[in-house]
Amino acid sequence: MSETVSHPPAADTEPTRLHFVSVDQSYDAHQAARDAANERLLQELNEGGRFKRLVKSVWKGGALREYYQHKYTREAQANIEASGDIHLYEGFDGQSERAKWATIDRFLHENDQVIHQEAGESRERIGEDSELSREIKNLIRRNVEGHLSDDAMQEEKARLLNAYHEQRGEQAFNRGVVQVDNMVEIAEAVKGAVAHGESLDEVLRNMNISTGESRAGVRTQARYNKVEKIADKLSRSRIGSLVGPEVVATATTLAASILRYGSHSVVGAATKTIAPGIAAGAWAGLRENKRMKDERALHAREMAQGKEITAGSKRREKIEQTRYETLAATDLTNMLRQHFGEDTSFDSQDAYEAAMTALSSVETRIRLSDQRDIDLVSYSDAGAIEEERFALDLARAEAKTIAESRLTADMRQQLGLDEHISVQDLIDQRSDAFIASIETEMSQKDRLFNKIKRHEVAKAAAKGALIGLAFGAITQEGMAALSDSREGLIEQAWGAHDHPYNGEMHQTLLHGLVHGSGGEHHAASAVYGNHAFGEHGSVSFSNDQSVVQNPDGSLNLVGHDGNTLAHLSTNPDGTLTQESLNQLHGSGVTVENLSHTVNLAPTQETHQGTLHEFMQQHQGDTTKVSRDYWYDNNTPKFDKNELGIWWGGHDNNGITANGDYQFNIAHMTAGGSTHDGHSVAWQEAARQGHLKMAISASENTQKNVFMLDVNPDGTVTIPKDSPAAQFFSEHGGQASFDGKYAEIVQTSNPDASGVTHIRPLATEVGSGTAQTGHYPITETVQHTEFRPEYKFTSPGYEGPSTFTEMAPVIPLVPRQALEVARRVEKPGYYYGYSSNPERLRQFREQECSPRLNRDPHARLNPRRELDWHRDQLRQKVGADYLARIDQAVADAPELDNLRPDTKAIVTIPVAAAYESDNIYRTLASYANQDGELDRTTVLLHVNWFDSAASDPAKAANIQKTRDEIERARRDFPQLSIATMFEQWEEAKKQRGEYGEGIIGHVARQMYDAAMMSVQKAMREGRMDNNREVMLIRNDSDAQGIRRSYLRSMINTFDAHPENDVFTGAIRWGTERHSDLPGFAFVSNFREVMHIATKRRGVHVWPPTVGINTAVRMSTFAAVNGVGYDPVRTGIGTDDYNIGGRIKDARQFDIWRVRALRRFRNLRSNSGEIPAMRNQYGYPIDTTREDYSYHRHVSGADIDTAPDRLEKTYLAGVPITRAWDNWGNELRNEGLHRGAAEDLRNNPGEVVSRVEADMSAAFAERYHDRAHVRAGLAAVLPTTISGKPAYTITRTSGGIAFKFTPEGRDWFVNRLQRDSRGRYDPIGRRVRRKLYNETGGGRKTPIAPRPLMV
């Protein structure tokens, strides 16, 4: 709220000079997006259990960190650009607005020192004749003349600036993605000026137009920002590469030499794995180096943004040691004010020195921060940076001005200063010392940081190398297990079998380390194989070789690897040729020639030979004989027996039936053979075996005869196969003897010489043709065979070629993430709740019912949501808690048997030690309501601390409170009063076990008991499952309640099922208004501002205050009531949380709606609004741009005890800070009851209090200008007799609300008189209207019954 929008002076004064400024915040938007991304990433990395964090640290915090960082930055950037709010992720609704105006005000300020050029800020005055200037003024003109609405003007402006940017690029407004300006306010001011008689043309002609670019954030930048910026610029430039071809060639060679992917030796593969492993370690070290720098910068930024280190954040604490010292901007501002305030002077050398030193130290810090992108100044909050920086800038500029004015010639002489030296020179003279001091500190911190960094980098490098190798080896084993062409060590456990890949066996590094490289020399196999060749050849060979016969009969000797070692051919005798032997020798094969000749089995061969040969062959068959004499009967001629040899056989043909030849001597007589006294009887001799037939083949062979037996019957058979048969033949069926002699002889035993002496008895003389005949001669023939035989012994072989693959090195190093810094949440947090999309997402996903989460506008079923809430209580708070709530319901008959037609449950926390004087009155107010008592139950949560119970006075109060409740029960039987009791433990509170306060616990128990009583009634079938019940939250110290309160609330509730939250007006202690008219005004203004949040065009969250708030129970259950955070239990968690949580649930896409507005502005040419969907795919209701879930209920006023506000007001503190000390003191502690303002005699005191209060309210709480306009319009006139009633200006200390003299007179008068000018003080007017109190004054018509009870 700058001076440019204050109401202009009248036409007879100085002409109005307005200043339009448009500030580009694209750079700030990017910084904010980076900060938001970093915060989100850190939050995610710090979420979950130990294992989850470890895994996340490897991926999200390690290998993929940059990816996520960029992704989140892009997302945040898109959201910020869409919303047009650089504080989207940092501040809250109000804060963003304040920061925006702080920026605009800074760029409007005349003093150039507020523009931080060294930090990159710029400001440019646009020439009056420029096209942009003309266009902007034209838009304002059309707006003022009524041709263009505010919204249309904004859209036209957006299109204008967009076109301007597109035309001129960054030369115009940097990137133009986020801009803030004061156009609407300027137009408003122009209207005011015109209304007061100024010429529109004149006002526009006098209007200045500026553009600028801000650096709204803290200063610390990691250096990579610059690198990124240049790299980005490079990528968009015509420059191709920063490396020449020769460098690429060299680098490629170097890289390739490192990246040989494996080796035939394990040692080689291991070496090649270790090299990248070491490289991985080096990279991990490099990465750590960068991260440490990043984290130092991030930490410095966050600390400068007012965040705090969470306890136990070791990494943060270590980095904190290296953070440059920062001084708070507010402290520096205060320091300057102390030295340059109105009550100070340069009247002493010490005072002068102290002041200039202070100024120089501030100047030095600011300039060093800007120049070096570091933070030497800190701020209370990211959203407060612009305000605090601006305040400091103003204080600095004012200090210089004051110094200049104080350093008069006399003063210079007194202080011994050169009369011409400037204040800036005096500051610079001192700056050197500060720079030296700061640089010394920075240097020390840098050294410490480098030391820490070196340690961390070394650790990371070692970890990187080891983990990289380990991960790589394990991964390689995993890959081997899945591959059938790679031998792994682990897969051997289940006997995996692999085959060669490209002719080689591949193995993992671990496999190689255990089993070696393979490829070692194998000795010749001791086992030989055999192969026959040729007719009789054979070769034996070591089994590591083989012999293959070629089609031509030649052989190949094939080695272990399948290669032919020698081609073998043979000589005609089957032996290997010399060439073959040479090849074998050449292949290292040892050849043993084992060729040999073998004797074969003899064979019998028959041919026709001479008698002599025949006889020779049958020598063994013959008997050598000598004829001693012949039994010739001593006669010279053959007679008698000598002729007794006849042919035997059939018919004496000499041939037996078998084909044998046969003689018969049976005709011989017994005594027919004699000689010289010797005789022989053939029969006898035959029987004795001495009678034989001797066959002589010829005369020449008659000494060697074939001896045949003479059978007893006289037959002599010559077997046809016997040699002797050769001398017989058959002719015409008659045997014929071809030999010479066939003699029947008497034999004797052979003599000593082996000769058998024979004595022939008879002789058959044959034809003798046998002498010349041919006879079969059978001979035994001896055979031999040559057998070529060789033995090849291989020289052994090299084992199969094994390729050991180097293990991939996976540089995945788990790394503990930087801890999340804690954002210091101020009471203002509750105002407007969170607009941070990430927090909203978490809230919706984790704390809202699925139905509400899917569709923020869903109409909810009461039973279903109450059941869900009950489950949530059990799961997230615990079964014990739920059991306690159920017991509380069971102990309260009014809840246990809740009436089926119940429409409202009024919940009231009762601090029993302090409300004994209030509770009966409050209950009485409900008991006297006009209707709805039969459908209403009041639930009192009566609680106290054990410390109070042991204090007699407080114990008495506690008892009195309980007694008063019982009294009310007796006196107001028509009022259903349920109670639940709780005693808190002081010791627990002291130990912090109750979190930030008790009220949050009280509220949860009370709300949950109310909801569970309804759920029980539905569960037990006593209440319709679809019945909507209203949960009303009020306080126990009501001074009065509108008689129609319940009726108004319930009627509105029933009439507006589209609303979830209902609030009525709050009156603050109207009985004190007579004594404190100023307080009456400011407290009333507070409530007016509350109601004004519902005015059209106002985008301010309407808070839900515990004094007078109601909520639809189904929706309340669907947001889990006020939540169950065990720590956030302090102020606001009991009441602001009601509307806040529902707003977050119902208006989830509020930032998208803003984005839509902005988008529409930029795309208004087409007029098309793109369909928008939330993250769950549900369409977004783009028509809802207000807090439409909330409805103000008229006729539902509550007059409440004003203690906190009253004592704050009387202390000169703005009532907006009434709850700042909440929890540390009682509401009436320090209140001087009975204090009164003397408006008649001392109106200045009242006016000053009101002005101070309003100023603080505008500076600290009310930032939406439409809201302020609406509120002020309700309580004050804009002008009095054509002159402004008040002014609102920005000062170095904040905002100043001042009545003009005309306004002051009007205001004081109105506090004392009615609108018709009759004396009727404000306090009396109000009391009469609400309570029918006439006070003995004028007769004024009053209502039949007071409105309030």
Binding site: K226, I230, S241, G244, V248, Y261, P276, I810, P811
Partner: protein, 111 residues
């Protein structure tokens, strides 16, 4: 710019990644894309390696319309940056990220 060597390097990288089923056309495009990314990363690494006091000068040179590749390369070399080392390390890291880290495409390089 060293296209043949880089093509070969990228191709070996793809082989090591054992990506199958790529048509020649797709593979050629992949090589082209990866090569450009690699060059971008080398560029970025070189800028990162620039001494702090040379940054602004380099940026000015970049803004100078008349300055070409040769001037840029000369500036980097004269600024004391070990260009070969930076390029080699970047290539190894690129390889490592692509082949061994299991990503289908290298992530954007941090500076």
């Amino acid at each position: 710019m060293g296209g043949d060597e880089l093509d070969q390097f990228i191709n070996e990288m793809l082989d090591a990644k054992q990506i199958s089923g790529l048509t020649d056309e797709v593979r050629a495009q992949l090589v082209s894309d990866l090569k450009q990314r690699l060059l971008d990363q080398i560029n970025k690494a070189l800028i990162d390696a620039l001494p702090e006091d040379k940054m602004d000068e380099f940026e000015q040179l970049l803004d100078n319309e008349s300055a070409g590749d040769a001037e840029m390369q000369q500036f980097i070399a004269n600024a004391g940056v070990d260009v070969k080392k930076v390029a080699t390390v970047t290539m190894l890291r690129f390889y490592d990220l692509y082949v061994t880290a299991g990503n289908s495409t290298p992530r954007s390089e941090e500076s």
